[in-house]
């Protein structure tokens, strides 16, 4: 089977100079990617999920042929990317930053015409395509078609950047944090279109984000990346099942102190709670295998401390919990 994207043992190091004086400087090497490998099929949305500095943008730049890896190979549609740049670049649509990347003194339409022409699209086809995309992303309604780019809101800029990624109608789309900083309406719009592009049109999409919630709702499969290493991969459900079968008890209390509860719960139940101050009071979080077994004892502790229990929930671990679990594994 031919994969849309294949990355094999990609390594990338950044070499920077740190000044130590007028004529002295020190070389610093940062290993952004430490030999990552993954595959993406057509019709699939794969999320690359990780914190800032994990290597998400470096990965997208390498896959899009904007950055040379130090070692490893990238295959796009079965073709080695860096040996066939023209062929590969025809297949890819890319969206990098949301807040810039266009000419400020051109309108939305003019910017798309410029890039479409640069990408070799024939004029009539380009006009049709631009009209379609401006409608799809509601840019015409928002006035983005004839407004100068410098007057665009962030939501409009994101929509225009997304439109450019789709200009060539590419089979492979790379999106680097496409909803970062967007209002919920624009973010939801983009997510919906991304899902349609993959599931209805069969495109392969690599989607980077540090938003766990977004990754869970958009992506078919997730690659968890931290410090240049893919720490785990799978569907959101598969990832949650990988961590030890824990459930989370979350209680919000009115009154009491962090230190007091931490000591009480540690000594009585032999568990280490996560306690933080929230808007409604104090949030106590415990990860346990069988919450029913300790619930009574926990309520007794709260009663004896004379606090009001505002809310008490038993939850499934979230993707954030999964990520922290795997990320801590890497650090240790």
């Amino acid at each position: 089977m031919r994969y849309a994207i294949e990355a094999e043992k990609i390594v990338k190091r950044y070499v920077t100079k740190k000044r130590k004086g007028f004529l002295k400087s020190e070389i610093e090497v940062v290993e952004a990617l430490k030999g990552i490998s993954f595959k993406i099929r057509y019709g699939e949305i794969v999320g690359l999920l990780g914190p800032n500095g994990a290597g998400k943008t470096t990965t997208i730049k390498i896959v899009s042929t904007l950055l040379l890896p130090d070692s490893g190979k990238v295959f796009i549609d079965g073709v080695e990317a860096f040996k066939n740049l023209s062929y590969v670049r025809e297949k890819i649509g890319i969206m990098l930053t949301v807040e810039k990347g266009f000419f400020p003194k051109l309108t939305g339409r003019e910017n798309l015409i410029y890039f479409g022409t640069l990408y070799g699209l024939e004029r009539k086809l380009l006009e049709k395509r631009i009209n379609y995309l401006l409608d799809l992303l509601e840019l015409k309604e928002l006035g983005g078609s004839d407004k100068l780019y410098e007057e665009f809101s962030l939501g409009m800029k994101a929509r225009l950047a997304f439109a450019r990624a789709l200009l060539k109608d590419p089979p492979i789309i790379l999106l680097d944090e496409p909803t970062l900083g967007l209002d919920p309406v624009s973010a939801r719009k983009i997510r919906r279109i991304v899902k349609d592009l993959a599931h209805k049109e069969g495109k392969a999409i690599l989607y980077t984000t540090h938003n766990m919630f977004e990754a869970e709702i958009v992506c078919d499969r997730i690659l968890l990346i931290n410090k240049g290493v893919i720490v785990s991969e799978g569907t959101p459900e598969e990832l949650k099942n990988k961590i030890p079968k824990l459930k989370v008890i979350r209680a919000v209390l009115h009154g009491g102190s962090k230190e007091k509860f931490s000591k009480l719960i540690s000594s009585s139940l032999n568990l280490k709670p996560e306690i933080k101050i929230v808007e409604r009071g104090l949030e106590v979080k415990l990860a346990v295998k069988n919450p029913e077994e300790i619930l009574n004892d926990l309520l007794k502790i709260f009663n004896s401390a004379n606090v009001d229990v505002v809310s008490l929930n038993i939850e499934e671990p979230s993707l954030e919990d999964v990520f922290i679990y795997f990320a801590k594994g890497v650090i240790e």
Binding site: R19, F22, T57, T58, K61, S64, T65, L66, L67, L68, S86, R89, E90, I92, I94, L96, T97, K100, G101, F102, F103, P104, F115, L118, Y119, G120, R164, D176
Partner: protein, 256 residues
């Protein structure tokens, strides 16, 4: 404090700050000592100094278009975040670089029509109009023949990463070597010989000789031929230089 740090930490800016006064001084001394008064200029050079310098100024802004556009344009693309999308485009970067200069070349030619033609007409009446058009055509020729070498210089600016600091060294050097603002044809052959590989210098001499002699001679045609030959010779090097810059961008990563 920041300005001092900006200068001291960047050696290119320090170097250009030191070098700049010497370059300008050399230019003015060279020019001034060869001129004297207006009538003396006319007597020695063979043409009206107003015509000479207005033609030279026009020639300067037209000829350096490709150099200015390419070296600043890709830097501007990096600044506004469009560079990754330019790099990823299938369009040849050399063709793109060459195409960049044409819109400004057209605008500058139109400017030339509005600035050169009135001056030529006032000083030389109707024959002056024809001369102005010939000068404009030769200026376009000089811009085109300089384009490939301009791409090489611009690539050096881009590769060095020095931006305007490197530009501030290169630009006056180009002005000096090309001879736009002094009578190049009066230079001794030994000095001219070293600048023969500079297409712009050859074109400038043709235009200056045209002003003085009122026509194109066999020598002028030879210089035009040399300018064309060197422009074509530099073409493969210009392609290579842009590819080197592009490779460098790919190694470091196009900034987003």
């Amino acid at each position: 404090m920041f300005v001092a740090a900006e200068i001291i930490r960047r050696k290119t800016i320090l170097f250009s700050l030191i070098l700049w006064p010497y370059i300008i001084m050399a230019f003015i001394v060279l020019l001034g000592s060869s001129m004297g008064g207006m009538s003396h200029f006319q007597q020695k050079i063979g043409t009206n100094p107003v015509l000479f310098f207005i033609t030279g100024s026009f020639l300067l802004i037209v000829s350096l278009i490709f150099f200015d556009e390419i070296s600043s344009r890709f830097w501007y693309d990096e600044f506004i975040g469009t560079l990754p999308y330019i790099i990823i485009a299938p369009t040849s970067k050399t063709m793109l670089a060459l195409a960049m200069g044409f819109p400004r070349l057209i605008i500058n030619v139109l400017v030339g029509l509005s600035s050169l033609i009135p001056v030529y007409f006032i000083l030389k009446s109707f024959p002056g109009l024809i001369e102005a058009l010939v000068v404009i055509a030769l200026s376009i020729f000089s811009a085109l023949t300089f384009s490939t070498l301009a791409i090489i210089f611009s690539s050096l600016v881009l590769i060095s990463g020095g931006g305007w600091r490197v530009l501030s060294i290169l630009r006056p050097l180009i002005m000096l070597i090309s001879g736009v603002l002094y009578p190049r044809f009066l230079l001794p052959l030994t000095i001219k010989f070293f600048t023969i590989i500079f297409p712009l210098a050859n074109s400038v001499e043709v235009i200056q000789l045209f002003l003085v002699q009122g026509g194109l001679t066999a020598y002028s045609l030879m210089l035009l031929g040399l300018a064309t030959a060197f422009a074509l010779l530099y073409a493969p090097i210009s392609i290579r230089s842009l590819r080197t810059w592009e490779h460098r961008v790919l190694v470091k990563g196009a900034k987003t």
